[in-house]
């Protein structure tokens, strides 16, 4: 059921049937509430030091999933186990201690750093909050961290607005690394950056993973970026995984029709490439009001009667046990 070949003892993060619903209130004095099912029953396991690339279009719930894993949005149901220990039901202190193991990097390099604090204060804060080391050790650690992410130490007493987007992203990464986490959620960390800067930050993340053995959940809407950075890839549509497989397999032989469409939709920076394109009809339905049956069926070119009624469960592909797909018609 899991697309990773290693034995299960190196499993760092185990997610079981995770759900995150947001109540949508009608207004004052109106008890009738609708549920927005942002994350609707997701299971996977992530091994130490590996990167799971998570792709999907806007509103598919990929950012919510990342935040639910870290308990920033407490999950509605399901389990998240870190080292086999569940995060749900932990006391405040216990959860606080577990935060050292898991951190997050954000998309917006402008919103992710407090504008009135210096770089040193920002990067130091995790050390201060968790009371790690003496004052001197903390200061040394901050300098070391800036070096790791490729910033000069004269950045210490500067403010975020004095840096470019790419540099700010590095500061955010340094803050996430301060506690030596073993798992990092990277939520679209390069989407707001220009192409030439994007590659610098991608290389930095790749380097950190190789050298520090951190496991990543790398969220992006950009398939090319995902392919570059990921060991395995999960495709999300309306709160559910529709396909999950090792990266090379999903790119070489996608099985779900949505993955196929997604892959063929990317504009390729190569004028010689004239492969035919599979263009989907219509738009992603609103997660407030998802279609019955397979969530993808209204846009699916091969949907059958059964797809309109039943929700397909994720299952191993007939040809490959590492390749999981949620479609009746996939082989």
């Amino acid at each position: 059921m899991n697309p990773t070949p290693e034995s299960s003892d190196s499993v760092l993060l185990q997610v079981r049937d995770l759900k995150k619903y947001f109540p949508v209130r009608g207004g004052w004095f109106r008890g009738v509430q609708q549920q927005l099912k942002a994350v609707d029953g997701i299971s996977f396991a992530l091994h130490s030091g590996r990167t799971l690339g998570l792709v999907g279009e806007s509103g598919c719930g990929k950012s919510t999933l990342g935040r639910a894993l870290l308990n920033l949005h407490p999950p509605t149901a399901g389990d998240v186990l870190l080292d086999g220990l569940p995060l749900a039901g932990l006391s405040r202190q216990a959860l606080f201690a577990r935060r050292r193991d898991m951190q997050i990097i954000f998309q917006d390099p402008f919103a992710s750093l407090s504008p009135r604090r210096t770089v040193a204060q920002i990067v130091r804060e995790p050390l201060d909050v968790h009371r790690l080391g003496t004052q001197r050790e903390r200061r040394r650690r901050v300098e070391e961290l800036l070096g790791v992410v490729g910033l000069r130490s004269n950045a210490l007493n500067r403010y975020p607005h004095e840096f470019s987007g790419g540099q700010r992203q590095r500061i955010g990464i340094a803050r996430a690394l301060a506690l030596k986490p073993r798992f990092i959620v990277a939520d679209e960390p390069v989407s707001a950056l220009d192409v030439s800067v994007q590659s610098q930050v991608l290389n930095l993340i790749g380097k950190l993973q190789a050298e520090l053995g951190i496991a990543f959940l790398f969220i992006s809407h950009d398939l090319a970026v995902i392919r570059h950075i990921s060991d395995e890839v999960a495709v999300m549509y309306l709160g559910k995984f529709v396909e999950h497989a090792p990266a090379e397999k999903i790119f070489a032989a996608p099985k779900h029709p949505y993955t196929k469409a997604l892959l063929s939709s990317i504009p390729v920076p190569d004028p010689a490439n004239k492969s035919p394109r599979m263009v989907l009809e219509g738009d992603v339905p609103s997660p407030m009001n998802p279609p019955a049956g397979c969530p993808f069926h209204p846009r699916c070119p091969i949907a059958t009667e059964r797809c309109r009624i039943e929700v397909p469960a994720l299952r191993e592909s007939q040809t490959d046990s590492e390749h999981v797909v949620g479609c009746y018609l996939a082989t």
Partner: protein, 292 residues
């Protein structure tokens, strides 16, 4: 942005110092600040007893015109209008500062709490209190508080604070709701910073620019309200104020004596106008959209 970080010195350029530099280049802002400071010195002199100590003495003839001895003339019972104007400056600063500080502090606190707990009963409660206080006519509230405090001279201040905080609280509430969904607050949560620290270290400091401007606006509003309340007999109880001078003058102007009216209204206009312009310049200098 961009390469600038490599060209400046080792010490960073905070948003405050940027705003300060920008303000210094604002001519109108600097002039209005100078005027406000001049008024403040006058007020301080009164407090320290340097001048206007004889504001209550009956020393001259009735309605004497401006002269070397009585710069602004005298009032109906022969008191020196100039001394009374100076003394009123002190009253204006006392009312303005107290109300501005009280209303801004209360507005910041309740606004931040409401915003941080938006969507919960705490927020609903604070919104309800704001709505209720907004719906009670201001002058009635002053009168009612005056009754309740049995004619205390602070009734006016308390009444002003208890209504002026609402505007600030609404603004801060909105700003906090915006800020708390920003990623740097989520980053603090991910680190494990507790809620109180998040409010006071990460959210409130980023609303200071709003609070500063709101404080100047409350100051002006307090001075202007004092005039009307004093005229209606609900304001300054003992001492002297521009409002009391103007209400004294309402009979005089119909008799053709304008000294009291002109002295109080021109002095008050000068301070309020300078403060309004100072407030504008401050807002420009602190605007996060222009300070990048």
């Amino acid at each position: 942005m961009s390469a600038r970080a490599d060209t400046v010195g080792a010490h960073g350029d905070s948003l405050w110092s940027k705003a300060f530099r920008k303000f210094r280049h604002d001519r109108v802002g600097m002039w209005s600040l100078a005027v406000v400071l001049a008024y403040a010195i006058v007020a301080l002199g009164v407090v320290l007893g340097v001048w206007a100590t004889d504001w209550a003495e009956v020393s001259g003839p009735k309605w004497s015109p401006a002269s070397v001895e009585y710069w602004f003339g005298t009032n109906i019972i022969g008191q020196d209008i100039f001394a009374r104007s100076l003394y009123s400056t002190r009253t204006a600063f006392e009312v303005g500062l107290l109300v501005a500080l009280g209303a801004t502090a209360l507005g910041a606190l309740l606004g931040a709490i409401a915003g941080f707990f938006s969507g919960t009963w705490i927020d609903e409660l604070i919104i309800w209190v704001m709505g209720v206080l907004d719906s009670v006519p201001f002058i009635l509230l002053v009168a009612a508080i005056a009754y309740t405090l049995q004619g205390s001279p602070w009734a006016m201040h308390i009444a002003m604070i208890s209504t002026f905080w609402i505007g600030t609280a609404r603004l801060i509430r909105g700003e906090v709701i915006k800020l708390k969904s920003l990623e740097y607050v989520e980053a603090a949560q991910a680190i494990g910073v507790n809620r109180l620290m998040i409010i006071f270290r990460h959210i409130l400091p980023n609303t200071f620019h709003i609070l500063l401007v709101q404080a100047t606006l409350s100051f002006v509003a307090a001075i202007k309200s004092e005039v009307i309340l004093s005229f209606l007999g609900l304001g300054v109880k003992d001492g002297m104020s521009w409002g009391l001078m103007i209400s004294e003058s309402t009979f005089e102007v119909l008799a053709g004596f304008f000294n009291n009216f002109l002295a109080a209204s021109v002095l008050m206009f000068g301070l309020v106008m300078a403060f309004n312009m100072f407030s504008d310049a401050l807002q420009d200098a602190l605007d996060p959209r222009t300070v990048k």
